[in-house]
């Protein structure tokens, strides 16, 4: 029971964004995918969530292929992708953004429970329910995006650069929340980050990629202390 990626290859026109990439993430594990700008991190997540089509390779989750499937169908299988940048719909209110996460679910009682849990977790969203999502700060938007995903009761969470554009203090907060959430909910997480130190700080496994190719996979503690990797890819 895990996420298994084998020889995955994705192209954007003439550019090979992901080049025969293989790795696996065990259930309930948090894997941090680290790499510089243009390494193919975002393309990887977009392919896992059905937004991009690969030209080769396979990806299975719980033994079943998840490739060539629409994002909205993957959501129904518990695979939730929190994309970077505009992760919220600014034209809708905070409440409506959260409600989107539960629209497709049949168990409406649990949607109410899940929504209450999210508001307990992020009280600032609770104070701003009727405000337009446009008025939120960067950190609050990230909370809203994660909150919306949680209301869908995810099993596999794909997170794209949650630290992007946030102040260091907020980044720490978001990562701490992620760490406790995934233990509490038993989530499997693929976290894509440029902020290697924060990501490896909460990850079980680190996966370093460069120009779409795998550089190395290892326990995050081992990677953090490898002097060569630190100089070349981790940037600290």
């Amino acid at each position: 029971m895990s996420l298994i990626i084998e020889n995955l290859t994705v192209r954007h026109g003439a550019i090979t964004a992901i080049d025969s990439l293989s790795f696996r993430v065990n259930e309930r594990e948090l894997a941090a995918v680290i790499g510089a700008n243009g390494a193919g991190k975002t393309t990887l997540l977009r392919t896992l969530s059905g937004l991009n089509e690969p030209i080769g390779g396979s990806v299975t989750w719980h033994g079943e292929s998840i490739l060539h499937t629409k994002p909205e169908d993957l959501v129904r299988r518990g695979i939730l992708h929190v994309s970077d940048g505009k992760t919220v719909i600014p034209e809708l209110s905070v409440k409506e953004n959260l409600a989107l996460g539960g629209l497709w679910r049949k168990d409406k009682k649990d949607v109410v429970v899940a929504t209450d849990e999210v508001i307990d977790l992020f009280p600032r969203l609770g104070e701003r329910l009727t405000q337009s999502a446009d008025t939120l700060s960067g950190g609050e938007r990230q909370m809203l995006a994660i909150g919306r995903a949680l209301i869908s009761r995810p099993k596999l969470l794909l997170l794209d650069e949650p630290s992007l554009g946030l102040a260091p203090l907020i980044i720490d907060q978001i990562f701490q929340t992620l760490d406790s959430l995934r233990h509490k909910l038993g989530l499997t997480v693929v976290l894509v980050e440029q902020n290697a130190m924060s990501a490896l700080g909460i990850a079980d496994t680190g996966i370093i990629i460069n120009l779409g190719k795998l550089v190395t996979v290892g326990k995050s503690n081992d990677l953090k202390s490898d002097p060569n990797l630190r100089a070349a890819y981790l940037g600290y």
Binding site: P71, P90, L92, E96, L100, L103
Partner: protein, 297 residues
């Protein structure tokens, strides 16, 4: 009295422009297509309404039948043409232009098909209530019970739309899919299906506009072309993105045209609609309600 009556006449024709504007905005903001075929979809639905009226003499049966037909035609256009086109042409200038050209071609196709089935001659059907103006004492104003009925019907359609969009899960899906389709999909919204429903709503609104306007004019395969243009002007006045804007834009245009017709010149009325269109686009492209983003309810 003349002022008041001109205002009322403007409100009545504006209500119809609003419905057409609504139809265009619904499609534009969810699919980014300026749907020229809307006039064709509406004319086909209106002829279906005409068929019902000529068989049963019942306007109140024709209106819902035309509405449903319009919705089905709208959904069909999206599923059969636009969705397929978007899958086949994904990027480049063709991706932006192709759907618009297709709707233009479809407009011609529907008009000639309608002409082949029902002939090109002018048809007419009577309003369900009198089209003679209300009389106060000795004065009769142009505003008639039928004009009042148009306003009431348009208000009901818009109220239903507004409840669906603001208060229901379907409405939330429709808005999310229109504003940020990718995020909507990642949240589980079936964007393709929701878009088709948007096209169906638009088709229904256009059909109601067609059935409402016909008793005052006559019906021919291209009798709704002007309405398409005026609906588009109304939509632009309202900022193209907002349903409320479309409703207000249509009414503003209707009242403006009524005043020019009454006080200035009949020959200037329609040219001035285009002057308004150009002025709005030059001075305030986001429309009278537009903020910087210009998107809203």
């Amino acid at each position: 009295m003349r002022l008041f009556s001109t205002l009322l006449i403007g409100l009545s024709s504006g209500a119809i422009y609003s419905l057409m504007a609504l139809a265009l905005v619904l499609v534009w903001r969810s699919t980014r297509v300026v749907n020229f075929a809307q006039a064709g979809q509406a004319i086909a639905s209106t002829y279906i309404g005409y068929l019902v009226i000529s068989r049963t003499d019942n306007y109140w049966l024709a209106l819902p039948v035309a509405l449903v037909a319009g919705a089905l035609i709208g959904a069909l256009v999206d599923v059969a043409l636009i969705r397929t086109l978007n899958k086949r042409v994904k990027s480049g200038p063709a991706a932006e232009m192709a759907p618009v050209i297709v709707t233009l071609g479809l407009l011609g196709l529907i008009r000639s098909t309608v002409g082949m089935i029902w002939g090109g001659d002018l048809k007419a059907y009577k309003a369900p209530v009198t089209n003679h103006g209300f009389t106060f004492g000795t004065t009769t104003i142009p505003f008639s019970p039928y004009n009042l009925l148009i306003v009431i019907t348009a208000v009901i359609v818009m109220a239903v739309f507004s409840i669906i969009f603001q208060k229901t899960n379907l409405g939330l899906s429709l808005r999310a899919a229109a504003f940020q389709p990718e995020i909507a999909r990642l949240a589980g919204v079936r964007v393709d299906l929701v878009r088709t429903i948007g096209w169906a709503f638009a088709g229904g609104a256009g059909a109601v506009a067609g059935v409402l306007v016909t008793p005052s004019n006559s019906l021919s395969p291209n009798s709704l072309d002007l309405l398409l243009v005026l609906g588009f002007v109304g939509a632009v006045i309202g900022g193209l993105e907002s349903l409320l804007g479309a409703a207000i834009g249509g009414v503003v245009l209707g009242i403006g045209l009524a005043f020019i017709l009454e006080y200035v010149s009949t020959s200037l009325a329609f040219p001035s609609a285009f002057i308004v269109l150009i002025l709005v686009l030059l001075i305030k492209p986001s429309g009278i309600l537009g903020k910087k983003g210009g998107r809203g309810a």
